[in-house]
Amino acid sequence: MSELLIRNACVIDPLKGINAETMDIAIRDGKIVEDVSSAAEVIDARGALTLPGGIDSHTHICGTKVNFGRYMSPEDMRAGRTSRCGPMHATSGYSVPTTYGNSYRYSAMGYTTLLEGAMAPLEARHTHEEFLYTPLQDTMANTLFDGNWGIMEAIRDGDTRRVAAIIAWTLQAVKGFGVKLTNPGGTEAWQWGKNVSCIRDPVPYFEVTPAEIITSVVEANEMLDLPHSVHIHANNLGTPGNYTCTLGTLGLIPDLNPKRQTLYATHIQFHAYGGSGWKDFCSKSEPIVRFVNMRPQIVIDMGQVMFGRTTTMTADGPMEFNLYRLHHEKWSNHDVELETGSGIIPVLYRRKNLVNSIMWAIGLELALLTESPWQCLLTTDNPNGAPFVKYPEIIALLMSKKYRDAEFATIHPDTESRVPLPAIERELDWYEIAVMTRAGQAKALGIQDRGKGHLGLGAEADVAIYPIRIDETDPSVDYERVIEAFSRTEYTIKRGRVVSRKGKCLVDGNNATFWVRPEVSDDYDMEKDPDFIEKFDRYYTVRMRNYPVQEEYLNRNRCIETEAEI
């Protein structure tokens, strides 16, 4: 039995309705409990800001394309390296750090749970292997279904229950957590070098539209009673004028689930562009946010861009090719048979570049204009908009108009006429930041009932204590202190153990992986479906028996079983 008592913590725990109360937190054997014995180890937080462990609901940290980002970029590896020190292994990389680099740096910032945003089912084993070497965070993976042949055929046949059945089989086979659609239909078209322009373009050969894929998969997701909603990277990312496509996509979504959103629309910054070309490129954050504010069934994340060098990587292969034609930097692409694709290019976001400056403003606008912080979560689509180590700066920008104005003065001068940002006075408070970085993320992922994102009794004892007293700090003025505090916790506690102290990781942890297994009836068990088996054998290059990810690939195995309607 291990016991820990955190004294004098200034707690913000939005899921439990606690806002800046000074209290003690008792922990036994990795869980939050009522009280502990006098033998418990004691940490005196001295009134420092104490939050549930941070959760990133959309980041790219593990798997085939992430690793290819490292593989092709020795220059990025050189840009951030540390040597072995105590239990910490050596790390490399700035925008795409090695697995240990990701894990240590996230831990130093108080993050204890990460969702890998895009896992190709065929290559899932790779993602799980890297999870094993991400020791200080619990992990889960969104599984890609955007170009899945079986699903597109079922949609063409009007059989949504079969769509659900294929998702169910695949998720349990590859130990996936959520359903991801990246440029639905577009990744399949890209295997012919083509794309879809928006939700009404038919996918070559399969003759289904992205709109049909989205609505069917959303319905199937709810049939399976999955913890998370469908997680979408909408069509037409990154092009001027794409906000109408984004609105069209969001408009497809009914409100189907009382517990959480019905659609999680990721990195909306990249989808909120106006203009007919790069010359009149402008922000359309306002119409997007107006739409979201009226619809509780939608949750978005920012996909904030921050200036500097980074690496873009996504399953959206055709988009990366377009970026390559703009930037003329190196370009990698990796299509995955019968399923999806991916692309990678390095980029440099520059303050002196008008488009980049507008992108920076749009991300902030989305967060500041969305009324409820539960509906707009803080991300950079790491590392696409910026590496996650920039989160503290983003927090400070959201909390301080003064800081925003100071930054605004350094960007491209024409930005002012293209964006509403300078007119926005709102400054987010500590509570809202806590929602956007953990509570809201837990709720959106549907893992609050698994003891994530809060500090209620029975919760996982994942806690972040930041070296800042919120009663003594005015974030709108002291933004430098805010950045410093969120960059490095005093203590990061994972499953009741102090794993990181003042930026130094203290233990070689052991992550848990969350995945789902929907229980379906025999009629919808694809394992026994002759047509599914035959197509698998004929067109995949891996045997169906060799496809599932074995439990050997999970350190701590957290299977979430759901009762499906089928």
């Binding site: 593990c62 970029s73 020795p74 490399s92 290559e123 790779h126 190196k330 048979e337 290059t541 045997r543």
Partner: protein
């Protein structure tokens, strides 16, 4: 007993449809595999247990003694080299990285003498590729450049390209065109619709000519380029541009010939150029069944695919300096651990001279050329036969190899983990 869907641990094709018949602790027959795979799966005479060099002969030692010897050797070395890794599973490779980090050694895999230059090219210009199934289902044009799959990857054509069933092809075998580019008429060239014979060392020029043609600069092409006629170059460029889906597979004939990584860079840039006209991809024909896995593992653990030097604590990468051949040729390293490869059969003489002078421990199930240079050899289970573990196919698809036999041999991972535990204990003292 028949074991189905066995994964062949021979080449980068990583075929996973093999059927193996087992009797007792022996494989008695193999179905579906090529000759190379069958030979490996049927096995040969393995070593019984660890051996230690003793004067002119060998003495049998226990696994404990052998592991202790290796741990002591690495701990007392100033500049240890941990080399090989392509012939073992990923789990063992991970332990290897931790060991290298602990002793501040150099860890390198066989790609530094194989597709290393291809990786350097990718680091300059990227890599437009895809999984093998994408090619199988779509490609109407396949180009083998400086590679001879019929001999080196015998089932590549039947499982993934020319002869394979393809979803979008009515009659895959008739609907696909094959171009072979090589300096001599290989077995594979015999089945090609178009055989392009290049003078040795002329690949770079031919690739440049094709790039010019694809960009519409045909007027700049001389009558022949490295022995290839202008007419044939135009024909090839037209075939490429006219294809719905083209796939280039290149081998060491392009990677390790004059021009080296610049050849690959040119080939990748040709494919990037063709991507503006139609769908095109390019991929390396990787050799060992898990050489790609050693690149993957090294990359997520250290940041670099091969040639990693921990002597300064951080991971440092400079191919040509931190790669095995260079470290040996400069007589820098003072101990070597070899796992899952046979450098004595492939390295230059100068490297072997040095290898003979330093303590060497090898993990390998069989006696091989490197055995002659070893102080200790530790026989291990063969991944894919009597050990399970992860391997990455040449296209990056990870597959867990099956265990078809139970033997008493420990796996590479087991031996290395025990070695690492001893080393950690010693260092913490």
């Amino acid at each position: 007993m028949i074991v189905k869907d066995v994964v062949c641990p021979f080449c980068g094709c990583l075929c996973d449809d093999i059927e193996v018949e087992v009797e007792g602790d022996r494989v008695v027959s193999v179905c579906n595999a090529c000759e190379l795979g069958t030979t490996k799966l049927m096995g040969e005479k393995r070593m019984k247990g660890p051996i230690l060099r003793d004067g002119d002969g060998w003495r049998e030692i226990t696994y404990d003694e052998a592991i202790r010897y290796a741990a002591d050797m690495l701990l007392s070395a100033e500049r240890p080299l941990l080399y090989g890794w392509s012939g073992t599973h990923g789990e063992a490779q991970c332990v290897g990285v931790h060991m290298a980090e602990l002793v501040r050694g150099v860890i390198d895999n066989t790609s530094s003498v194989c597709h290393g230059p291809s990786i350097l090219a990718i680091q300059e210009v990227g890599h437009p590729g895809c999984t093998l199934g994408v090619v199988k289902n779509r490609a109407d044009l396949v180009i083998y450049w400086g590679s001879n799959p019929i001999d080196a990857h015998p089932r590549h054509l039947s499982r993934y390209t020319y002869y394979a069933d393809g979803f979008f092809l009515e009659n895959a075998f008739r609907d696909r065109k094959v171009i072979v580019v090589d300096i001599r008429k290989t077995e594979t060239a015999n089945i090609a619709d178009e055989f392009v014979q290049i003078k040795p060392g002329g690949d770079y020029a031919v690739l440049s000519a094709l790039r010019a043609l694809v960009r519409g600069k045909g007027e700049t092409i001389p009558r022949t380029v490295s022995g290839v006629t202008r007419e044939q170059l135009i024909r090839v460029a037209d075939l490429c541009k006219g294809a719905k889906f083209g796939a280039v597979y290149f081998g060491l004939g392009l990677t390790m010939t004059p021009g080296k990584y610049k050849n690959i860079r040119n080939a990748i840039e040709l494919v990037s150029e063709l991507s503006r006209h139609t769908k095109f991809t390019i991929s390396a024909m990787r050799g060992h069944y898990n050489v790609y896995g050693s690149n993957e593992v090294n990359t997520w653990m250290t940041g670099y695919p091969f040639g990693i030097d921990y002597s300064r604590g951080i991971a440092f990468y400079n191919p040509g300096e931190t790669t095995a051949v260079d470290i040996l040729a400069r007589k820098e390293c003072d101990a070597a651990l070899i796992v899952g490869s046979d450098p004595a059969a492939h390295f230059p003489r100068r490297c072997l001279d040095h290898l003979a002078d330093i303590p060497v421990v090898q993990l390998d199930p069989y006696p091989n050329a490197t055995t002659a240079f070893c102080n200790v050899q530790i026989p291990v289970a063969v991944t894919g036969i009597d050990a399970e573990g992860t391997a990455y196919r040449m296209d990056g698809v990870p597959i867990r190899t099956r265990k078809v036999l139970s033997t008493d041999y420990p796996s590479d991972e087991e031996i290395l983990s025990r070695m690492y535990a001893l080393m950690q204990e010693e260092r913490e003292r």
